[in-house]
Amino acid sequence: MRNKSPKIAVLSGKGGTGKTLVSVNLASVAGESLYIDCDVEEPNGHLFFKPERVCEEGITVKVPEVNEDLCGGCRKCADFCKFHAIAFIKDKPYVFEELCHSCGGCALICPDQAIDERERVVGRVQRGISGGVRVSTGVLNTGEASGIPIIKRLLEPHGLQEGLPVFIDCPPGSACAVMESLQGADFCLLVGEPTLFGVHNLRMVHDLVRLFGKPEGVVLNKCLAEENPAELFCLEKNIPILGRIQFDNELGKLNSDGRIAARERPRFRKLFASLLEEVMKEVGHETAAHTQR
């Protein structure tokens, strides 16, 4: 059975390989779809979509607040915090809010009930529409350490529209924010570039995807006539290559002007439509394989 609303995570080990190029253009050729920008430290998909009717929601996390009148100075909270978000200064806890992971452990462990939790805004989620594409963007406030709460909110199931394919523009790298972005995905599309440095990072994200047991495929970006290390890597690891995007000045120009190539030029529409078809074939195949297991 074909999955009607597959969630496709677009990944790459490093920045600048073309995650946004690929995910924005795939969402555009998919017609009715969802584009979710989980690269909350530097979201840029909205620069292409220029969404309209944007609604904004603040995202908060819980942080401890110490009531010094109740605090007996036992230090249990500071010793408990694995993130070193609580220092113990002059016999009182001192909270570094930006290091807090909102686990709530300090409030639980405090024998004096001296710790309450309060909400602190760390960023926002913007939702708008661009043609048939529903565009969700996560924005982490400058200086904040973790975008995870924003990514969680972006990917909450009830925020997703049943029946529409979802394209998740993931953060670069292979750290926590990437794991959070891909863990609910049905398929991982890795964007590779033809450099050794690119392959090093591609390998890291490939290992991560394998760790999560997700089906994957690669799209090779910026392809040149010469030998492509990313392609060799895919062949060696037996990763399906679902498409190739040639190094192309016009594509580069459109992209750097913040325009969506697939909406501007028929030849790019065709390119991304055929990539989408390949991706959907893989997703359908994988879904069927999962059902059989």
Binding site: A78, H84, A85, A87, F88, I89, K90, Y94, F96, L99
Partner: protein, 121 residues
């Protein structure tokens, strides 16, 4: 007064560590009793908040001065609020820095970098 220095090795000839929060050891020296001691830095492998944890160790061991080449903003906050004075260390060994401190040749550290949050950029 007790002085703390982040160091690379457990030897008086050790260099001062380039990192405060992720130095392998801390060296403590008491100017009155002339006693000294090395302490393993438990923060060295921390995912995040190493500076805070390291600063806490300095405070908990009763040091009133820290000699370091650089220091993060969070660590500085813990130290300042705990009334620990931070001096800029000189390139060289522990011994050379203790001598410079005794001769009042060290200046206060005034430039604090932002927290690295476990990402050693």
């Amino acid at each position: 007064m007790k002085i703390a220095i982040p160091v690379d090795d457990k030897s008086l000839n050790s260099a001062v560590s380039q990192s405060f929060g992720r130095a392998p050891y801390f060296f403590f020296y008491d100017t009155e009793t002339e006693e000294s001691d090395f302490l393993d830095n438990g923060a060295v492998a921390s995912q995040g908040g190493a500076g805070i944890k390291a600063a806490q160790a300095i405070v908990d061991n009763g040091a009133k001065a820290l000699l370091a080449p650089r220091c993060g903003g969070n660590a500085e906050e813990v130290l300042r609020r705990s009334e620990v004075v931070i001096y800029q260390s000189l390139p060289g060994t522990i011994k050379e820095n203790l001598d410079a401190f005794a001769a009042q040749r060290l200046v206060l550290l005034s430039d604090f970098h932002p927290g690295l949050h476990g990402h050693e950029k």
